[in-house]
């Protein structure tokens, strides 16, 4: 089970959130948007010119910058999907 950051996922790949290493304010916002460890997350697309990422977590689509995504550790292939 290789563990990477969310930013490293390719569009179409899914993973499970392992941990979030963000400062308090960002952490709270991520929690409220549904980012919790153990949750499945899917990379939908990445904007060009190193723009933001679109991910799907549960029923919510969220965009975030690559720098923020790098603070979220995920583990791929754990559930085999």
């Amino acid at each position: 089970m290789p563990s990477t950051t969310l930013a490293a996922l390719h569009p179409g790949e899914t993973a499970t959130i392992v941990s979030i290493h963000a400062e308090e304010a960002l952490h709270q916002r991520l929690l409220a948007l549904g980012f919790r460890s153990g949750k499945h997350i899917e990379m939908i697309r990445k904007a060009s010119f190193s723009g933001p990422l679109q991910v799907r977590i549960g029923t919510t689509d969220v965009m975030l910058r690559r720098s923020e995504a790098a603070k979220i550790m995920v583990c791929q292939g754990a559930s085999g999907t």
Binding site: A22, E24, A25, A32, L33, R45, A47, P52, M63
Partner: protein
């Protein structure tokens, strides 16, 4: 009077419900953070007057951005008799955390699971009775937009208002430390009551996004759509505007002139050439305003704003801003004031100020009126919409340039995390409401500023009475002459200078002022201006109008939102300087090239 507060995460439909409950006109849009201050309305419920309060959305009770502060202060200062907690049913699996946090505050709560129509469409089902039992709170499934489930919910609200108001916990924050507990509780309730299909069946949003957010087609599509829309507004709106202006002229000649014939000459002039011509010329733009805002309502409610943020964030990041800043520029197309207030969602003050510095360059609907008038007077029908579109592009360029120049003064590292809601379409009712709201706003400005403005312009162009109207010997002529050393190098004559000075109050006055200065209205006015100016002068004038301070209301908002006199002064000085420099470069450049 009992108070009912609407609480919930952003974009869950609080304002939609508020409008349904109160018949009010809170602004609704498919963008998290449309409401940034509280709005209240009174209704009769169960025989008593009750105050309903619409609040900005909050993600949790920890937030400290300026819009979230509004909610915290409200809850701190008044314990609502009832909190209506509104959750988006389709996202209940994450939004329940806020409900559980609020539950700890020991308030009187009724829960409304909104957007039941979408939940059904996506295949999400909720066992409301069971959830209600598990959480020990009344819970109702409703659709604030279409009204389903609303009567039952209203009954429950009326009933809940009979309970005594609980005293709320003194310290909000200390109550909120048990998030761990919230997590397990949330999992327990959701497991027993909510069913979500493995794959959501919202194909439409996914398909549209594949096109709209396409890696290299996304931006061209954005600009193409924008171009088509403004072309459309011009094509449909401009004939309407001339038609109505013609109607006003006809009314003047057939009814007003004979009716007022008995009055002294000066009074007749003031009433007819001053107030009537000025106001009628401005009022002729009402159809364009309605058309424009119907379109804005569609864009704001479609969910495309979030997509625009996605597309533009890469560029905005290099300017020290983020995708939300671009969305505020788009909102500013309607009016700069709500766009300035919309920056409250930003937590970093530096980013907020930098965004507020660029928003006044956004080409608002009042400036659009000036441009439609001038382009129709000076350019061929084919070229006119392109000229207007070029001004929109200039407005972006001015914003970008400003951010580039000032980004080092407003350094920030605000994280950018934003929800992408599904595409939606406004109901007819929502669009009509929005159209009405804007007309009312326009009429308020008209009565407040425009009438006073045109009277003043008439006085300036007619006093002293011995001078020929609008000649160099009148007050206006002297003022215009005084400023000529500044404005002659940018191709702006005395008459236009007076219009610009009054445009400082509100851009609507510019056209009204010209009508008064030339003593003409409708086609005759555009004809006279078309004769007097060439296109280089007109374009230079439009550039200046685009870039200098939008209006007094914007200045007042800059001050009230930043609470920094220095910042407001910077914004004023910079926009004036930029306006002059750009017009100067354009005018002298075009003349040097032989135009």
């Amino acid at each position: 009077m009992k108070r009912v507060a609407l609480l919930g995460m952003p974009n869950t439909g609080k304002s939609t419900l508020f409008n349904r409950m109160t018949g009010g006109a809170a602004r609704v849009g498919n963008w998290p953070g449309i409401t940034v201050e509280l709005l209240s309305g009174k209704i009769l419920l169960g025989g008593d007057m009750v105050e309903i309060i619409d609040l900005p959305g909050i993600y949790d009770l920890h937030g400290f951005s300026d819009d979230e502060q509004v909610v915290r202060h409200f809850l701190h200062d008044n314990v609502p008799d009832l909190a209506l907690v509104i959750l988006n049913t389709t996202q209940i699996e994450r939004q329940m955390s806020l409900l559980l946090q609020l539950k700890q505050l020991d308030m009187n709560i009724v829960v409304l699971l909104n957007m039941s129509d979408e939940a059904k469409k996506f295949g999400i089902s909720v066992n409301v009775a069971k959830m209600s039992a598990l959480l020990e709170m009344p819970i109702f499934l409703i659709s604030a937009k279409y009204g389903r489930g609303y009567p039952e919910a209203l009954q429950a609200i009326t009933k809940a208002l009979r309970y005594p108001t609980p005293g709320m916990a003194e310290q909000l924050r200390s109550q909120l430390e048990q998030d761990q507990h919230i997590e397990t509780e949330m999992a327990r309730v959701l497991k027993h009551t909510v069913q979500v299909p493995v794959r959501l069946s919202d194909n439409l949003t996914e398909k549209l996004d594949r096109v709209m957010l396409h890696p290299w087609l996304g931006l061209p599509i954005f600009f193409a759509v924008m171009y088509l829309v403004f072309q459309g507004i011009f094509m449909f709106g401009q004939p309407l505007q001339t038609g109505i202006a013609g109607l006003f002229t006809w009314l003047r000649e057939t009814a007003l002139v004979p009716a007022l014939g008995g009055l002294p000459q000066v009074l007749q002039g003031l009433l007819l050439d001053g107030i009537y011509n000025g106001v009628a010329t401005v009022a002729a733009f009402i159809p364009i305003i309605i058309l424009f805002f119907l379109f804005m309502a569609m864009v704001e409610d479609s969910g495309y704003l979030s997509r625009a943020a996605f597309l533009m964030d890469a560029l905005m990041a290099r300017l020290g801003l983020d995708g939300r800043g671009f969305v505020m520029l788009l909102m500013g197309f309607g009016c700069n004031v709500p766009a300035l207030m919309g920056t409250r969602v930003m937590r970093s003050r530096a980013m907020r100020l930098l965004t507020m510095l660029v928003i006044p360059f956004s080409l608002c609907s009042a400036r659009l009126q000036v441009f439609i008038f001038f382009t129709a007077a000076l350019f061929s029908p084919k070229a006119a919409p392109i000229v207007v579109f070029s001004l929109y592009l200039f407005s972006f360029v001015a914003a970008i340039l400003t951010a580039l120049i000032f980004k080092h003064q407003f350094k920030n590292n605000e994280p950018f995390v934003l929800e992408l809601p599904p595409y939606r379409f406004p109901t007819l009712r929502q669009m009509v409401l929005r159209g009405w709201l804007e007309v009312r706003h326009f009429l308020r400005r008209a009565t407040k500023f425009i009438v006073a403005g045109v009277i003043l312009v008439w006085l300036l162009t007619h006093l002293p009475l011995s001078a020929a109207p609008a000649s160099a010997d009148t007050l206006a002529g002297m003022i215009g002459g005084f400023f000529q050393p500044v404005f002659a190098p940018v191709g702006i004559n005395e008459q236009l200078t007076i219009a610009l000075i009054f445009g400082f109050i509100a851009k609507e006055i510019v056209i009204g002022a010209l009508a008064v200065i030339y003593g003409l209205s409708g086609d005759a006015l555009s004809g006279a201006i078309g004769q007097q100016l060439d296109w280089v002068q007109a374009y230079s004038f439009m550039l200046f109008t685009l870039l200098y301070t939008p209006c007094l209301a914007t200045v007042a908002t800059l001050q009230s939102e930043s609470k920094l006199l220095k910042f407001t002064a910077l914004s004023l000085a910079w926009s004036l300087a930029l306006a002059w420099l750009v017009s100067f470069a354009f005018y002298q450049g075009a003349r040097a090239l032989g135009y």
